[in-house]
């Protein structure tokens, strides 16, 4: 299992567009991918699930990836978050 935490710096948080891109990455994965924020957990393969977390600027999120391709997917999501949010 791979995990990391990240603090969202984007002013409007994880809105529809980045949520879509994150889901795109997660869907390619064989692993299970989830994100935790303010005590709630979302399945990152499901856009409504992620959107209902309503992640805002300043929120700390914890991403957990577990499965065959966990290292690669974890790295991909981390890079996406760092570069865009």
């Amino acid at each position: 299992m791979q995990e990391f935490t990240y603090t969202i710096k984007d002013k409007i948080g994880i809105h529809a567009r980045p949520a879509g891109n994150i889901v795109k990455i997660a869907k390619e994965a064989k692993s299970d991918v989830s994100m935790e924020c303010r005590g709630k957990t979302a399945d990152l393969k499901k856009i409504f699930s992620l959107m209902s977390l309503s992640v805002k600027c300043g929120d700390e999120v914890k991403v957990t990836v577990s499965g065959d391709d966990e290292v690669e997917i974890c790295e991909k999501i981390k890079r996406y978050l760092t570069e865009n949010l």
């Binding site: 889901v23 499901k46 959107m51 209902s52 300043g58």
Partner: protein, 539 residues
């Protein structure tokens, strides 16, 4: 003539005929079905068909608007693949033995409720996406064609347009959008802005059947819809449209020109911004720099103070995007009147005259140092000037300079590179600062006159209070004298002086400010070209 009011979501005026677009499929009936398995199969094939349609819409939007606008449809496809909506549908069909149409509308309600539950404006606006997907599936189920035939010069009236409805309409025939619901954040509003179609949202009572086909005027600036406008209103709208058009054309020709007066003085014409989102407009309107970047957004609407890294990233982004053009960032200007939970400020009787801005920074050095560290670290990525608000005395300026020099030393000791040429200036926005500007000028690199507060403090008139709107007079001679005095004292000390605040955008006063010797004007991006025109016409 009947006048309806709403919220202007995309600027402009229009005069045309009303076409009411009713939301389709609103009357879904519930009936029991015999064969659950075949109903689920029918539902699944409708979902597949909807995905195909969305793919086509994506392509169409890329062609008509942009890839960024089109992305919403790929998100819709994801929402369909997500399972939340479709699984819910299947279980409703399965458990209740009902038709797919009814199941879809019930499932959409469940998902919308989940979004509304986030209690977040942005997510709540996404319920329109769910509605859109629902309607897409319903159309696929019933096989109804959604095409709407439009006449020339149509003004669309709708309850709330979904993104797919908006993009499916023939834009060459549409002059404006009027919707009963919707917000400035809705996709229709965003699309309308990107296609430059005037739009008014939140117009209560616009969906009356008898309006269909009537003549109608729309003025987004006044957020007004005129049904069967009289001749006077019509000509007003037409004139306004013409004026806007010819002015825009004329102002566009000023892009790339210098802001030089007739006597050859070059004025730095900068823009005010409140966050990085405003940057595109700054560049689009050809501002020569940023004269006021309000750093407040970093502090508002959050419970914890923004850390150094968060601030550094925000400043770096702006400085990089400005590509070496001067960028004046103002340190935190917040008082008890603003919603800044992270500062935990106590309620005050008179927040405008209270514990705010630099007064907080000088008291709570950690907040101040964090911001200055972030600013200096970002300084190597562009052309930075830092400006301090709410100054009233020499002592304050000296203390500010001391903290700044301390921060510079700290960073150097840590081996972090900074730009040695960062200029430090102050805002002249209290009468006290203007009156002692001769003593303050030698301590700083520039002055920026914040007229909004300077006027309110000089005339003892709250600018938010309509009752005393006549007392809040930006051209009061007392205000003019303070501005002139500040300019003279700045030049005597050899520093530059600018004006930010609404007065800088008042083109009737540009000539006076230039005559006072103002070196820089900083205005909202939308006013840059108009002020440039007025500088060029000044002596």
């Amino acid at each position: 003539m009947k006048i309806l009011q709403g919220t202007g979501a995309s600027q402009g005026v229009a005069l045309g005929r009303i076409k009411i677009i009713k939301s389709k499929n609103t009357n879904v009936t519930k009936h029991t079905i015999e064969n659950v398995a075949s109903e689920i199969a029918r539902f699944n094939s409708a979902v597949e068909k909807t995905k195909e349609t969305l793919g086509v819409l994506y392509e169409k939007t890329v062609r008509e608007a942009s890839e960024a606008e089109a992305e919403i449809f790929s998100i819709h496809i994801m929402m369909l693949e997500d399972g939340s909506l479709t699984d819910c549908c299947e279980s409703i069909i399965y458990e209740q033995s009902v038709n797919a149409e009814y199941a879809v509308s019930e499932a959409a309600k469940v998902v919308c409720a989940m979004l509304v539950d986030t209690n977040d404006d942005y997510m709540m606006a996404r319920t329109a996406d769910v509605e859109d997907i629902k309607n897409g599936i319903l159309t696929s189920l019933t096989g109804e064609n959604e095409d709407v035939i439009l006449d020339e010069n149509t003004i669309i009236f709708a309850h709330d347009l979904t993104p797919s409805q908006t993009i499916n309409l023939d834009k060459s025939k549409i002059l404006a959008f009027v919707t009963e619901k919707g917000s400035k954040n809705s996709h229709t509003a965003i699309l309308a802005r990107s296609m430059k179609i005037p739009s008014i949202v939140g117009v209560t009572g616009c969906m009356r059947a008898e309006f269909d086909g009537l003549e109608c005027g729309v003025d987004a600036e006044e957020a007004a819809v005129f049904i069967q406008p009289d001749e006077k209103t019509k000509s007003k709208i037409l004139v306004r449209g013409e004026v806007q058009k010819s002015r825009e054309e004329k102002l566009r020709t000023l892009k790339g020109k210098k802001s030089i007066t007739k006597s050859g003085k070059e004025i730095k014409l900068y823009a005010n911004i409140g966050g990085e989102d405003d940057l595109d407009k700054v560049i689009e309107n050809d501002a020569e720099g940023i004269g006021l970047f309000r750093s407040e957004f970093l502090y508002l609407g959050r419970t914890e103070l923004p850390d150094e890294e968060t601030q550094f990233c925000a400043y770096k982004k702006v400085l990089e995007k400005m590509q070496g053009k001067e960028t004046v960032i103002r340190t935190m200007d917040i008082g008890a009147d603003k919603q800044a939970a992270c500062l935990e400020l106590e309620q005050e009787e008179n927040p405008a005259l209270g514990y705010r801005a630099i007064r907080i920074c000088l008291e709570d050095n950690d907040i101040f140092k964090t911001q200055l560290r972030a600013l200096y670290r970002a300084s190597v990525f562009g052309n930075l000037s830092i400006m301090f608000p709410m100054i009233t005395s020499k002592d304050e300026v000296e203390r500010v300079m001391e903290v700044a020099s301390c921060v510079r030393q700290e960073l150097k000791d840590e081996g972090i590179s900074i730009d040695e040429n960062v200029r430090l200036g102050i805002m002249i926005e209290t009468p006290a600062a203007a009156l002692i500007s001769d003593e303050l000028a030698p301590l700083v690199d520039f002055f920026s006159i914040g007229t909004n507060d300077l006027i309110q403090y000089t005339l003892a008139a709250d600018r938010q209070n309509d009752k005393i709107g006549n007392i809040y007079n930006p051209r009061h001679p007392a205000v003019m004298k303070l501005i002139k005095m500040t300019c003279d004292n700045a030049h005597r000390a050899g520093i530059w002086v600018g004006v930010c605040g609404e007065l800088a955008a008042d083109t009737d006063i540009t000539q006076t400010l230039v005559a006072f010797g103002v070196d820089e004007l900083s205005v909202s991006s939308g006013y840059v070209l108009a002020v440039r025109e007025s500088i060029i016409n000044s002596n």
